[in-house]
Amino acid sequence: AGAAGKAAATEPGNPANLPPNVPEWSKTLGDGVAVRAYGKPSKHEANVIRRDVEWLTASRESSVSFTPLHELDGIITPNGLCFERHHSGIAELDPNDYRLMIHGLVDKPLMFTLQDLERFPRTNRIYFAECAANSGMEWRGAQMNACQFTHGMIHNVMYTGVPLRVLLEEAGLKTNAKWLLLEGADSAAMTRSLPLQKALDDCLIAFRMNGERLRPENGYPVRICVPGWEANMWVKWLRRIEVGDQPWHHREETSKYTDLLENGKARRFTYVMDAKSVITNPSPQAPLKHRQGFTVISGIAWSGRGKIARVDVSLDGGRNWRTAQLDGPVLDKSMARFYAEFDWNGQELFLQSRAIDETGYVQPTKDELRKVRGVNSVYHNNGIQTWRVSPEGEVENVEIA
């Protein structure tokens, strides 16, 4: 009775609203239908937001905000929480003034309105978009004490769009066409060079995310999806595609998004996002509040090379692994959700997860990665994350040997 009494005492809530009492909301009327014509989350979820790290950049217009992965489950990122990366703030286009121009090595340069694009055959696909700099602050060791900041530069969305291939066919490609230049309408006029082969494979000219139109911060009205490839290439507010015979070597593929190795040489055109995973719950912002007993570990895994084949989880810092359960649809170049269950005895844990994709790639440890890349790469840090769980259930980002 003593223990039960103690458990009850720690229960949250206002007794006036708990049984046997009948709370106000069971007696009186709430807001009617369509009062909230476009809905938003409960006021009690005000802490579930994108956050930025102000010291990272000189200005918020050229910066990043992070998805609160620890506050989500399943594989769909709601549109309001998709991480942002802008180079000159959110371009706010009027959809009537939207134009997409395709020119260069084509038979006939074309100009499309938004209405034009929406007339083409379209398709719906769920893809992750991960910034190549995701986990970039962790190369030299554990730095950010939050899953949101270590791994939150990723979102997973169902896009509706026209295969880029269809538009290129409409324009007609010259035989020497090999590369595309993608250009945004923001005031960074963001550009990236895209190999034609990828363009003809699975890229989408997307105008919808999760059913509705793109959000302004994600490229309204039109962005490109480059499935499995670094999100920097997913040019937002897409205004122009030029077809050429060589890459442009623009700022975002030279100064940035090249991976500096220890010997001072740099890898370029590192498009594919390697297989990666992270435990989202528990994590520093989402401690284990029950002191012991049945516990579900939850996380996400993804690979730019295809489907996730398997995820392993370790409770002891990588000494021993168990295979987690993949739940829900496991799709090509999409986040997959994994769960692993165990009975927590209340002792310290060192949680890790390890993704394996359908090509057989196994997510490396941070040390394995540093051995081949050094610590100056900035980008493509897909090393295995360790969370230490204290007996009190607090979780912190650590590096271990």
Partner: protein
């Protein structure tokens, strides 16, 4: 791959032909081979004044940066060090990227405002700050720009991860007793303490 084979010719008849003058207005990209260079010419001497007026507030008078804005010059010889400083001079492979980028994106908040001689002059000044050109009066222009070479060009190589990191494709990753002893903590994010905290303003350190 099959996906990249020559596409079937299906024409939907949607959209219209883009007019040459429309393309001209938006086609602002510049390539290393000089394709896309806008007409113009300039010198570092002329560029300095423009740079001080329009760029130095963020990037510093010598490209050394103020606050946390990007550094644009210096860093030679640091790339293989613990603290690489990646600038136009120390890191960038192609000078054309400078003219392309400044033209499309700078000054920050007043993009696509620079053209012609002003653009070339500012770029000449940046090249001068980075010791790419040493004579303040050397004229660079759409004619001679492709001859400007940057020192680090040869140090870039194409993605080779599927070869150089082949070891990450492991047949049977270890499942039990994969390391000896209990985990030893080498570092903790808490000790660094730079994480913004919920409900507080960000902490800048």
């Amino acid at each position: 791959s099959a996906a990249a084979a020559a596409p079937a010719k299906v024409h939907y008849g949607i959209g219209r032909e883009a007019k040459p003058e429309e393309i001209a207005g938006w086609d602002i990209d510049v390539r290393p081979d000089g394709q896309g260079l806008p007409p113009g010419k300039g010198t570092a001497r002329k560029g300095e004044e423009l740079f001080v007026a329009q760029c130095a507030a963020c990037h510093g008078e010598f490209g050394e940066s103020t606050g946390r804005w990007p550094v644009l010059a210096g860093g030679a010889g640091t790339l293989a060090s613990h603290d690489p400083v990646k600038t136009i001079g120390s890191y960038w492979p192609y000078a054309s990227t400078v003219i392309d980028y400044v033209r499309r994106a700078m000054p920050f908040g007043n993009a696509q405002s620079l053209e012609g001689d002003d653009l070339y002059s500012i770029v000449a000044y940046l090249l001068y700050l980075n010791d790419v050109i040493t004579d303040q009066d050397q004229e660079i222009s759409d004619k001679n720009f492709p001859t400007v070479k940057l020192a680090n060009e040869a140090n870039f190589f194409d993605d080779d991860r599927e070869v150089s990191e082949k070891a990450f494709w492991k047949k049977e990753p270890c499942m039990t007793n994969c390391a000896a002893g209990a985990p030893r903590i080498l570092g903790r994010a808490r000790a660094i303490d730079v994480t913004p905290e919920d409900g507080k303003g960000p902490r800048v350190e």
